[in-house]
Each structure stands twice: as C-alpha cells, then as structure tokens.
C-alpha cells in the first residue's frame, strides 16, 4: 500500500471548488455546487471550497461547518451567552438561553440572506504549514500527517505550488480497498 503516492490519490485543483479571496459565501456555495456536478460521480462528493489569493495560491479552506458558522447570530449575543461555560454554568442552562435567544432573534431565512453577502475570508480556516504535503510523498506519510494533526485534507504541492487536495475520504477508500484485497 505504501507504494501509493499522494499524487495518485489527490483531486487536482482544477477539479475542486475554488473561489478567490473577496468572494461572498454565496459565490463559494455556487462554486461547490458546480464542482460537485462536474466531478466523477463514483467518488466521494466535495465537502469544501478552497480559497485562493490573487496569485492563485491556496490560503484557506471553507468547510460545511465554517459556512454554517456564518448563520450564528454572533452580534445578537449581547449578554455573552457563549462565554457562560467558562464560568461553570451547565450546558443545559446555556442551551436553554440560546434557544430563548434564537426565538427572539431573526428567522433562519433572514440569517441566510444576511450570510450570503458575507466574505469568505471572515469564516475560512487559514491553512497552516502542517497541512501541506509534497505530491511525491508516500501514502503512509500522508496518513501519519492526517492522523497526527487531526485533519480532513492535505494540500498537495509541487515545486512550492498547490496542485491538488488529498482528502481523508480518498485516503480511507484506498486503505479500505487494500484491506479488502488482503482478505481475498
């Protein structure tokens, strides 16, 4: 299995959803939809959007969770309910306060409308040094990096440029097939 190289399993950047910095969350959602339509339907679907700078370098990633965070009414939290946990209040009490706050807050539709216009850089995860891997690295190295850093994907580089993304789902699929081969 270690004979697999990262470049064999990665999704090329051209096949992945990308938007440039300055795009709105709505742009990102459209890009994701388009990439999913065009992608090989026998494979796992894309779950994120990569954010590129002006020189087309990957600077961040927007996952489902990051996008949903935009719907959190952070500006409505005038009483600082979010911070109650650190003062020893129970999760049950905090949940009930959130529920109350939600009931008094804007409906989900309005929050969606508002979130659509927000910029991706406000919510994206900024890619760190340990999230990059060379395209010629072996699969076991990639697994080690994913497990060690608890990552869902790695940015694949060649000569300093990002050329693709190695997804946890594809690595798992490769391992799964290898396991099946062993049992036959």
């Amino acid at each position: 299995m270690e004979k697999y190289l990262v470049r064999d399993l990665m999704v090329p950047l051209s096949e992945y959803a990308t938007v440039h910095v300055g795009s709105t969350l709505f742009d990102a959602v459209l890009a994701l939809e388009k990439a999913q339509e065009e992608f090989d339907h026998t494979k796992y679907k894309h779950r994120g959007v990569l954010i590129l700078d002006k020189k087309n370098r990957v600077i961040g990633k927007l996952s489902h969770l990051h996008t949903l965070r935009a719907l959190e009414p952070k500006h409505d939290d005038v009483n600082g309910i979010k911070e109650l946990g650190q003062f020893g209040f129970s999760a049950k009490f905090v949940r009930s306060l959130r529920k109350q706050q939600r009931r008094q807050g804007a409906p989900l539709e309005d929050l969606c409308k508002k979130a659509m216009m927000l910029k991706v850089e406000e919510f994206m995860h900024i890619t760190a040094e340990d999230e990059f891997i060379d395209h010629q690295a072996t699969l076991d190295m990639a697994i080690h990096q994913l497990v060690q850093e608890k990552l869902l994907s790695l940015m694949v580089t060649q000569d300093g440029n990002t050329i693709g993304i190695l997804r946890l789902a594809d690595v798992f699929a490769a391992v799964y097939h290898a396991m099946k081969e062993c049992t036959i």
Partner: protein, 472 residues
C-alpha cells in the same frame, strides 16, 4: 535606587512568567504607575495589641505607607499604601471545617507575601484553602489601586483597580478592573473588567457583567496611564483629609462609646454619630454619617451624608453617599451608592447590595426591604432587571436570567450563604457584643499601639527596608 529597580523588574518578570499562557504582559500596566520617589517618601507601620500574635518579618521589601497587623511576612515585595490586616487569621488549635473534614490548625496562620507588588491593596480574612491552612500566601502577584485580596491565597496573578478576589484560591489569573470573584478555586482565567461572579460549586452560580461602555465612566484602566474614572476622582478628591491623620504621630482622641472602635487612621468629619459596637477601620472616611448600633465602616469605605440604622455591614471599599439604610443592610465590597441631596437613596432593612454594585441616581430611589440588588442602577426602571426579592430568589431551584444577570442552582442556598456570612461579619466585628460576650474587632482593636519603620534614605538600597524581625 538600584535595588528597588531590580526588585521591581524581578516581580514583573515573575508575574509575566505565570501569565504567559494568557499572553498578558503586566509591565505596561504597572510601569511608572507608582513613581519610585513615592516609595521612599512614606513610612510603614505595624500594630501591637494583646489580642493578635506579634510576629512580623520584612525582608528585602519596600513597604511605603503600608499597615500591618497580626502575623505577616514580606519577602522581595513592594507594598505601596496597602493594608495587611491579619486580625482574622486562624490560630493554633482552631478546627477548620471543610465539607467532609474537620482539620486541626497546627500553628498560627500567617500572611506570606513574596515577589509581589501590591498598590493600595487590602489583604484581610484567612485562607479558605484546606490545602494551605497555616499559610495565606500572595506570591508572584501584582495588584493595583483599591483591590481586595480577601481570604484568597493567590499566585501568579494580576488584579486590576477596584477588583476583589474573595474566599477563592487563585492561580495564574487576570482579574479585570472592578471585577469581583468568589468562586472557591480558579486558575488560568482572564476575567473581563466589571464581572461579578459568585459560585459555590454544586450549590449556586451567579454572574453579572457590566456593559463596558457604561463602566468606563466609573473606572477605566489602560496600559500607560493611571486608573481613571469617577471612582478614582472620588477618592482622590478626599485624599488630603487622610494626609493629616498619617502625618501626625499623635492625633487628638475623638470620644466614642466604650464598645465602639474608631481607628486613629480613619477620617471623621463633623456631625458624625458613632453608636455602641460600631467599628470604623483605618482609611475609612465618615462625614455627617449616623452610624447606628453595630454598624461598621471597613477599610477604604466612605460614608457621607448618610444614615445607617444599625447592624449594617459596609464591606471593604464601599461608598455610601446621601443615603438612608435600614437595619441589617449589607453593602458589598467596593460598591458605590450615590444619592443626591435632593434625591436620596433609601434601602429597606435586610436588603443585600451585591459586591461591586453601582447605584448612581438623579431621582429619589427606594429599594424595598429584603431585596437583592446588583449591577448598575441609575433609576427606578433599572431595578426591574437588577433586583429580586430574597423571598422570590429563595424559591429558585433551577436557573433563570434577568437582564445581564445569570443564576443557576439553589436560590435558597445563595440567600442562606449570604445571610450566614453577614451574621459572621457582624459577629467578628463585635456588632453583637452585649457587654460580656461576643467581643469582636470593635472591642479588641480599641487600643492598638503603632510603631513606624522606614527604608534606607539613600545609596544603592534607597527605598528598601532593612530586614526587620519583630517578635514579643
């Protein structure tokens, strides 16, 4: 002043090491906050009474303008105009009650201050930590103007101006200005300014946070400048009155009832009435104040144009102006209660004003009896979200929120804990003395002899006090 400069740098470095996880740099806050020439100007003084152990040790420290009573030790520290009041420390043979334990105290408890810089800070009460019964330590800590360290062993922490840590063991924490914390044990927390937090694990939890934009009118502290705001202006405006009592070695005696105690370092202005069992501590300021039987004014309290009917606890740093308080009203630490001559503040009997409450009114305001009040109150409408009757609170068994206040747990336990504590304070202060029994501070602190000590006047050790050991 080479030694003093090195001492300051050493303390700052030690505090910063402890607070590195919170990325808090104490240096810009305390640099030049107290000019070094001030540290040379003032003598320190210690009290001698037959009621408290005489056991002082001062090593490599500056103690400018500070007051010591009971068993205290300072090492490698700077204490500027601070009160180290060891008259409630545990004594050898006492039994310390802790849930599930009865722990005998093996020797007299002592306050140990090491590698710390305390500015106008009050240290009082005794260590409530069962792990350190005989040692009430304050180490690697910086505290600023009018902070209170009350029964709270503290290590590696910073306390902002007018903050209070009460009955809490604290490690590596930042306590913002005007915050009050009573939470048993805390570590590695950065508490925002204006937080009032009272937590008894498994019993109750109370939290209120001031709106910072409104709090800054009263107190604001940013690096590079001294603390600012109405609270600072208020005490600065009355500073001169204290100069007279501190400058004179012998001050004329003011007649008070035999069962009452008026500290010679308190300021008593005309038309003040002192009843039986009243305790007025050092650095308290009374002007046209009517102090009913068993009422008290603790350190840094200001009671002006006010009437306290009796058995009133005015905790350390509280200020009461143009107000009428019924019997048994408790006013918590550093509270600022200000009526106006034409619109007075009235507080009904048995009410509890939470620590760090600000009531600042421009229209008459009456707080009913048996109520709990917290936070910022500027008019009657504010009471709707900043008060609750003690009866209603006692019925709470789950959780509720009111305005910016959150409460969870047993309301009855909360009210009982406060009532018990108020009773204990009255007892300790001698408010319940009947001529025979229940002697407290008001009776025991009547005859205190004060001795003064001073630092090296010049040379490399200028500002540092020589090592002094004082024993019977």
């Amino acid at each position: 002043m080479k030694a003093l400069t090195e001492l300051f740098d050493r303390i700052v470095q030690r505090v910063n090491i402890n607070l590195r996880e919170l990325a808090f740099d104490v240096r810009p806050f305390v640099k030049d906050l107290v000019p070094f020439n001030q540290l040379v100007k003032f003598y320190a003084f210690y009290g001698i009474t037959p009621h408290h152990p005489l056991d002082f040790q001062f090593r490599h420290s500056n103690l400018a303008g500070s007051y010591f009573l009971g068993k205290c030790r300072t090492t490698n520290s700077i204490l500027y105009k601070s009160d180290i009041r060891g008259d409630e420390l545990k004594k050898k043979g006492d039994i310390f009650q802790y849930p599930g334990f009865e722990i005998p105290v093996s020797k007299d408890e002592g306050i140990r201050i090491e590698d710390s810089f305390l500015i106008k800070t009050l240290v009082h009460n005794y260590s409530h930590d069962p792990e350190t019964l005989e040692k009430f330590f304050i180490t690697n800590t910086v505290s600023t103007h009018y902070a209170n360290i009350h029964g709270s062993p503290t290590d590696g922490s910073y306390l902002g101006p007018f903050s209070t840590v009460d009955l809490t063991t604290m490690n590596d924490c930042v306590i913002g200005a005007f915050s009050y914390v009573q939470a048993s044990e805390i570590s590695h927390l950065n508490i925002e300014p204006g937080t009032v937090w009272v937590r008894s694990p498994n019993n109750f939890n109370f939290l209120y946070r001031y709106p910072l934009d409104k709090l800054s009118h009263y107190i604001h502290f940013a690096a590079g400048a001294p603390p600012q705001g109405l609270l600072m202006d208020f005490v600065e405006d009355r500073k001169e009155a204290f100069q007279r009592v501190f400058e004179k070695v012998n001050i004329e005696q003011v007649s008070v009832p035999k069962s009452a105690s008026l500290d010679r370092f308190a300021v008593l202005k005309p038309k003040t009435h002192i009843s039986d069992n009243v305790l007025v501590a050092q650095r308290a300021f009374l002007q046209n104040a009517w102090m009913g039987k068993g009422a008290n004014a603790q350190e840094n309290c200001y009671i002006i144009n006010a009437r306290l009917e009796g058995f009133n606890v005015t905790a350390h740093g509280a200020k009461i102006i143009e107000a009428d308080l019924g019997q048994n009203v408790f006013v918590g630490f550093n509270s600022f209660l200000r009526g106006r001559p034409d619109c007075r503040l009235t507080i009904g009997k048995d009410s509890i004003i939470m620590p760090h409450t600000i009531i600042d009114i421009k229209e008459p305001l009456k707080i009913p009896p048996d109520h709990l009040v917290w936070g910022l109150v500027t008019c009657a409408a504010d009471l709707e979200t900043h008060s609750i009757s003690l009866k209603a609170l006692s019925k709470i068994n789950d959780a509720f929120s009111l305005g910016s206040m959150f409460f969870e747990g047993s309301g009855n336990s909360f009210v009982t804990a406060f009532r018990d504590r108020i009773h204990h304070i009255l007892e300790a202060n001698g408010a319940l003395y009947d001529g025979m029994k229940n002697k407290g501070h008001a009776q025991k602190n009547q005859n205190i002899s004060f001795n003064t000590i001073q630092p090296y006047p010049e040379g490399e050790l200028k500002g540092v006090y020589p090592t002094i050991i004082i024993r019977p």
